[in-house]
Structure formats: structure tokens, C-alpha cells
């Protein structure tokens, strides 16, 4: 019997690097974890992209911003403003570099109004080399770690929370389990009734699906330490701004080639690799895919509007 897997997917809202071009937008992804929504980066036009693909902006609970290059956050203040205009009251958490809070505040202040929902900023620490827990709720735990770019930049590792065991009513047993006994069984404990009847947790429940992980790494040089940080991830998103012909340019600009992204994935022994953050110079992306797959066959191109299930 296969375990029940809650939803865990990323929808690509922007797949390009700094310059919007070839119909592609700057970086943004919408992570769905058991129908809770997390936005990762927010390039210019993200609110229009959310609308285009029928995603509800008000359902976003947390925004993660990797670094302070505009193609990763210029769409944020417009999104915050639209959430306000559309009547949001639900709090929003923003996990980002320190500079972002002032940039948002100064723009909200200039508009002369206030945002009627609470925004909580959590500042990413630029010091630690180790993984750092930056967020946790009932659905996910998120660790951040440093990448290597022109300015401080963080990768994120999204890990599903351990689920409780699933109750299996059709498993049969000595007598009907009562409704109020189920939570204890799902928590892994056996139930013993006063009359001595015992219901064993393992007989009535099954182990939960193992937590899956999604690693998000952009913008960065290819790093040994990234492979360690994301080791064994179910899915790694790694930037692949360039192809091998521009390897020198990639290094100069603190970016990666598709092949280098694949090498990180290979060393990390992740299950699947998504690549993106394409330079505006490429209208076609076949070379990115071919070069990456020569190293890591389970590589996929991000495409805007596409939803990738994290398996």
C-alpha cells in the first residue's frame, strides 16, 4: 500500500535572470505544501504572473527573498500593495536580507497610507556558514544557507514536517475502534481498554510518507558546500544562467552554467534537478538541457506556468 503524499509542488512564475526577455519573467516561484502557499523570490511582474496562472495571492503565508538584486524582489512592494487593496487582513511574514524592510517601508510611507494587515520581517543572517532554521510551521521547516554571489545570497531548504501515522479503518481487527481512540493510534500509541482489549497502533495505522525536501539555490557560483547542504533532496532548483560556451562569463558574474548545476546535483545525490534563471541572451534552452543531462539525466527546464511535483 502506498503512503499518502500531501501536495508538495513548485509553480514557476518567473524563469529568467535580470532582464525580462523572450517572454520570460524575472525569478519567482510559488511553493504549495499541503495547500499552504509560500512565495520564493518576487521579481517584477510577479503579481501579474500569479493572476495569469490563477494563483490566489491572498493565500500566500510567507515570502522568502534570496538576495537584494532587483530581479528577485522588485515585484514585492506591488504585490504587498495589491494584497492591501484587495482587503487582506491575514498576516504576512517576509524572510529576507536586512535591507528589504526599509525599502518596503519607505515606499509604503510615500504612498501616504498604511497596510491594514500585519507584515513581519525576519532578517536573514549573513554570518553563518551552517544551515540556519529561518522558518517553521505545521507544514514545513525552512533552513537557509549561504551561496556565493556578488552580494550576500541565501539558498533555502524546504523540508516537510513529519506527518502523523495514517489511520486504516479497513485494516480489520478484534473490534471496532472508537472515534476518540483514533488520535492515540495515529500518534503511534497502543490503546488498552478497561476490559483488557488492546488495539495496537501498528495494526490500525501505517507509517507516514517520509518528509520530502525542496532546495532552492539562486544566484550563485557552483559550490561544493551547496551539494552538502542539499544532499539527498527530492528536488533541487539550481540556477543555470549560462551554457558552457559562456563559462567564463558565468564565473565573472558569480553565476553557474547548466552543466555546473548538474554537477552540484550529482554530488548532492538529489533525485531531480530543475534549472532556470536563464540569461536573456538565450531564446532557446535546448543547450542548457542537453548539457545538464549529460551529467545529471533527471534534469528539467523550468517553464513559466508549469507546476513541478516534488516526488
Amino acid at each position: 500500500m502506498s503512503a499518502h503524499f500531501p501536495k508538495f509542488s513548485t509553480t514557476i512564475l518567473g524563469s529568467n535572470s535580470a532582464l525580462p526577455a523572450n517572454g520570460r519573467h524575472p525569478t519567482a516561484q510559488l511553493l504549495n505544501v499541503n495547500n499552504h502557499y509560500y512565495l520564493i523570490d518576487c521579481g517584477e511582474g510577479t503579481q501579474m504572473q500569479l493572476r495569469r496562472y490563477g494563483m490566489k495571492m491572498q493565500r500566500i503565508e510567507v515570502v522568502f527573498i534570496s538576495h537584494m538584486h532587483g530581479d528577485h524582489y522588485f515585484g514585492l512592494v506591488g504585490l504587498l500593495n495589491s494584497m492591501h487593496l484587495l482587503g487582506r487582513t491575514r498576516p504576512l511574514k517576509i524572510i529576507a536580507p536586512a535591507a528589504l524592510e526599509e525599502i518596503v517601508r519607505i515606499q509604503l510611507d510615500a504612498a501616504g497610507g498604511r497596510i491594514q494587515y500585519p507584515i513581519e520581517f525576519v532578517v536573514l543572517d549573513i554570518a553563518p556558514q551552517e544551515k540556519q532554521r529561518v522558518y517553521e510551521d505545521a507544514q514545513i521547516k525552512v533552513n537557509a544557507f549561504l551561496l556565493k554571489h556578488r552580494i550576500p545570497c541565501h539558498g533555502f531548504l524546504f523540508t516537510e514536517q513529519e506527518r502523523e501515522r495514517s489511520y486504516l479503518p479497513d485494516k480489520g481487527g478484534p473490534a471496532g475502534v472508537k472515534l476518540q481512540e483514533i488520535p492515540k493510534l495515529k500518534a503511534g500509541e497502543d490503546v488498552q481498554r478497561p476490559d483488557g482489549t488492546v488495539f495496537r497502533s501498528k495494526d490500525y495505522t501505517e507509517a507516514p510518507a517520509p518528509p520530502r525536501t525542496y532546495a532552492y539555490c539562486t544566484d550563485t557560483l557552483p559550490l561544493e558546500v551547496t551539494s552538502e547542504m542539499v544532499a539527498g533532496a527530492n528536488c533541487l532548483y539550481h540556477e543555470a544562467t549560462f551554457i558552457e560556451a559562456e563559462r567564463k562569463r558565468a564565473k565573472e558574474t558569480f553565476h553557474s552554467t547548466a552543466q555546473q548545476a548538474a554537477e552540484v546535483a550529482q554530488k548532492a545525490e538529489v533525485k531531480e534537478l530543475l534549472i532556470g534563471h536563464y540569461s536573456a541572451r538565450y531564446s532557446e534552452l535546448e543547450v542548457h538541457l542537453t548539457e545538464a543531462r549529460s551529467i545529471f539525466p533527471k534534469t528539467y527546464l523550468t517553464e513559466e506556468g508549469a507546476e513541478f511535483e516534488i516526488k
Copy 2:
């Protein structure tokens, strides 16, 4: 014989109000004056809209920002950044409320780099009730004046510079005019040769086309003073966020209805009226047009990608 009219047009890049919706974008227009380019407002996504309609961002010489609501400037920093990435060295002038400079600077600073072309900010004065000259070059003069919105907001009046007279080589005359005599004739002066031959300017040249004016008024309540400021304009762009059914809402939010925009145009005796800045609530705009035309027949809806010649 008709006078020669240099190019004078506005291309609509965004026609909606605060919320992008129904395929419409927040406010931006590209003014072409004799093939010199001026951007008026710059809502989120303006750089993508410029690209979509094949307009060259690097040709923009001056940006005018009416006020500090995000739907009129959230696209600016992304545009400035892209101009830099695409190698701009040509200076850019930005004429805007005082708060904008710090908002732009703080974001450029956070990116850790510098912009390699000069940006000059000119601050709009919020005190004067009179028209104020805020910009002038060989093509246009621009006056700003106060509108009435929730926060300080400026209207702009773009007036073509007076042209010199046009030389008419086919007009005939007593003898061939020499090349070096033409500038004097075009300047309106007669040429007298040492041998006594006279060439009269009026015989060899014709008066230039009278300067045209384009008035841009958004966001605002409908105002008597606006009609005075833009009196006789060849074309008035006036916001028409709502229709009559939402007249109360228009007043509460310091906006205008289409009919009110038409009343301003009528009082101002302008030649044509463009309306826009539509609320996201309207998927169709026929009512806007019908209501405005009932007052001012030469009303036209702005549509994104459309270029309106100022006649």
C-alpha cells in the same frame, strides 16, 4: 499647402489603476516628440510593456512621475536597472516628487553596484498653484501643476517648441536661392545680395505648424482649475477610474468618473480627450466611453499598445 507636423504622439503602456487586471497594466505612457522619447509614469511591468510593443527603452530621455502611488512608479527601478544592464551611458533625467530619489537610491545601493549612466533627479514643487516650468529642451516645454488626490499629485502640460519656418524650394522666385542663404530665410529674415537682389523670407518659406500641447492629468478629482491649466490643449489625457454608478466611490478615493473627465475637457475646450486609469472592477469599458461622449464627443479610450497622434 499644409504645414509640416513633426511626430507628436503618446503610446499607452498601461491603462489601469492600482490593480493590474483584465489584461491591463498600471499607468505608463511613452511620449514621442519629433522622435525624442519621454516616459510619463512607470507602473510595474513598464519595461516588459516597452519590450512587448517594440519601443526602445534606451531612447527615453526624461521620465515624469506624477505622484507616489505605486501604480505610477513601481516599474521605475527595474527599468533603470535594465537600462544599466543593457549598457546605457546616456544621462537620464527623472522629474518626480521628492520621495522618489531616496527610494531609487536605497534600492540601487542594496544591489551593491552602481549605475554607470548619470541620473539627475528634479523635484516637483508641491507648493505652487500656478503652472511651473519643470523641463525644457529643443523639442518641448513642460509645465507641472497640482491636481487633487490623496497625496500630492501633478498634472503635466507638454508643449512643442516653436519650429523655424519651412523652406519651400518649389515656390519659385527671381533666381536660385543659395544653400547658405536658406538658414536666414527660415529664421524669417530677408536676404539681400550685394548686387541688390532681394529674397523675401515670406516668398521662400512658410510659417511653422503651431505648437501642439498634450495635457496629462492623473490621479485626481475633477477640478475647475484643471480646465484652466489645460485650456485649448490639442489633447487631454484625464483619468476616468470610474463610471457614474460609482460617482460616490470616485469622490471618496479622489478619482474621477468618465463623465467628469469629459466635463473637464468640455470646459477646457480641448480638441480631443483620452481617458484611462480604469478600475480593475471593469472588464468592459463601453460605459466609460458612452458616458464621456454624451458630454464630449471627441473622447477616446486608451488601449495598451495603441499610439495616439496629437493632432
